[in-house]
Symmetry: C2
């Protein structure tokens, strides 16, 4: 089969890879219908994470083509959505809603879903079948559920977004934009998107943002304070993963408020004494997307939400290298790869 390989930072190749096979009785094989490039794929692409001839991709939707003997809840022919972490969904951590930290978790990124087929471990715990074959226009939204929507949703839940609350969103990538959508669905009264890109501002407003703040860093914090009677937002979503974005999020939050952070923290050191006196709640990490999949698939299926709008560039799998370039150069927010 064809699949994406990152040989080194900046070097993307689409080449032949071995067809996946059932290795464990709990595995399924899926024929991928669509996959995409994640903001987190840019970390190794930019040399911030090590990479050496690695298969790439962890977002996926597709059709089950084979299952292991132990698989019970999905069958050959099902159209499925899965999370970027395979999880058994039965262990104590999964049952508490933290499937991305399942005691048997397998990162799908190590398997590489930017490919024609993928082996999905722990299929029963990982995959959720859609009610039927999706219409073509639903595919981007279902694919978004696999990571960026699920991650934005988790960030909003982690930030305890809810009715009557003012929410600020740091980061205008796909996750930040979909966190705006999640905040709107979760009933936030006011949603402040922090963005300086006109196209992303427009999408943020489309998803429910009530205010846009273009300032960053301390100026961004001052603006959020100004909009919230000097107190800071109740809920702040961090969807970048840098020192600046984390501090911007923490400082934009009122005492007793909540930061939900899902940007993969790189070279971030949180100053203890400032965090202490901030009096905020901090929660985040790799989103347990599986927790939210049934609900998100249902919302998409009923066309109540359209998270697929974050994809602003669609390319065939063979042109993945251009997809990476477009995201790296910020020419695209999120790139969908058709398979």
């Amino acid at each position: 089969m064809r699949g994406v390989i990152m040989d080194a930072p900046g070097e993307i190749r689409v080449d032949d890879r071995d067809d996946p096979t059932i290795l464990e009785p709990t595995d399924a094989i899926i024929k991928i219908a669509a996959t995409c490039v994640c903001g987190s794929d840019l970390w190794p692409y930019r040399g911030i994470e090590d990479v050496d001839h690695a298969p790439m991709g962890h977002e996926y939707v597709g059709t089950v083509t084979a299952i292991g003997d132990a698989v019970k809840t999905v069958k050959v022919g099902d159209f499925v959505v899965g999370s970027f972490f395979a999880s058994d969904n039965t262990c104590e951590i999964c049952r508490a809603g933290y499937q991305s930290r399942c005691v048997h978790a397998v990162p799908m990124g190590a398997i590489g879903t930017q490919a024609e087929y993928a082996r999905v471990p722990l299929a029963d715990g990982t995959l959720v079948a859609t009610p039927g074959r999706p219409d073509a226009d639903l595919i981007p939204s279902l694919l978004a559920a696999s990571d960026v929507l699920g991650t934005g949703w988790f960030a909003a839940v982690a930030a305890e977004v809810g009715p009557g609350k003012t929410v600020a969103v740091v980061g205008d990538g796909a996750v930040g934009l979909l966190a705006v959508l999640a905040a709107e669905r979760l009933g936030a009264e006011r949603i402040i998107a922090m963005s300086r890109h006109a196209d992303r501002q427009a999408l943020a407003r489309d998803f429910g943002a009530t205010d846009i703040v273009e300032e960053r860093g301390d100026e961004g914090v001052a603006k959020i304070k100004e909009l919230t009677s000097g107190l800071g937002a109740h809920s702040v979503i961090e969807a970048v993963g840098t020192q600046e974005s984390m501090m911007q999020a923490i400082r934009s939050t009122r005492p007793g408020g909540h930061v939900g952070y899902v940007g993969v923290s790189h070279d971030v050191e949180l100053p203890g004494i400032e965090l202490f006196f901030s009096g905020i709640h901090l929660h985040g990490g790799p989103a347990p997307v599986r927790r939210f999949l049934p609900e998100l698939i249902d919302l998409i299926w009923r066309r109540e939400i359209n998270p697929g709008k974050v994809f602003d560039l669609t390319l065939p799998l063979d042109e993945a290298a251009e997809g990476y370039r477009a995201m790296d150069q910020r020419r695209a927010t999120k790139v969908l790869l058709t398979v």
Copy 2:
């Protein structure tokens, strides 16, 4: 009046200070019945925080001797308990339960309650009157409510302690020990106190600890994992404030679990990437003791809890220097000063 002054690190003097007077119509003056030395007073005592001829002390119980014109809820003659932050208890932050970060907060440490009298700003929002004159044996417990009990209680609430949960407590000072008491009252199934001092272990067990772990750092973490099927505790309370204790707390917590931290963080830097993948909730800071005072006073009044047991040395105010020495040298867990 007589009052404690710290001239420089390690230099405690009890000397004449000006009698406090009503400065604002919202002030009250109280005659202090008992005060104490806090673990946080040791930071400047040990030179870790700057200090220069400062009045000391922020814990207090006593009798109201004068009130400003605007004070409505306490009257002259009332026996009162207050928090270590004066707060209006009416602003949006107070109403959300974060009185220590009240928009008008005044740190009582700047006023110095290790003295015969103290001015209490925002008396209506800060002070809670007891149902009557307390019996002498209740004074230590009421004094504990002013900070260490309220702080330990907040830590347990911040760590989301509750029925069915396993709780670990890092730190065996007065706050850690009273966090054990709080965890027991809040219905924790299992309470692991981390302590290597026999007397403190005994008090922890008396307050409800079911297990004692003597190991620290990575060994302590391994022990907590061993006691929790490899997962970590649901709730971990951090009551020290060092890099080691914070990392011990974070690493002892299962994914999705909660750390409640109340040790004043000094020279602490939290590594972002480890925190991210831990998947924990982190909440803490200066405890909003005022939130819990009515409930804690009630529990003490009905003799359902006896947090005053943490005081293992009682001295007259004039011997405050010996009290500081005893706590610094760990000869005492908590020193009560009679006035």
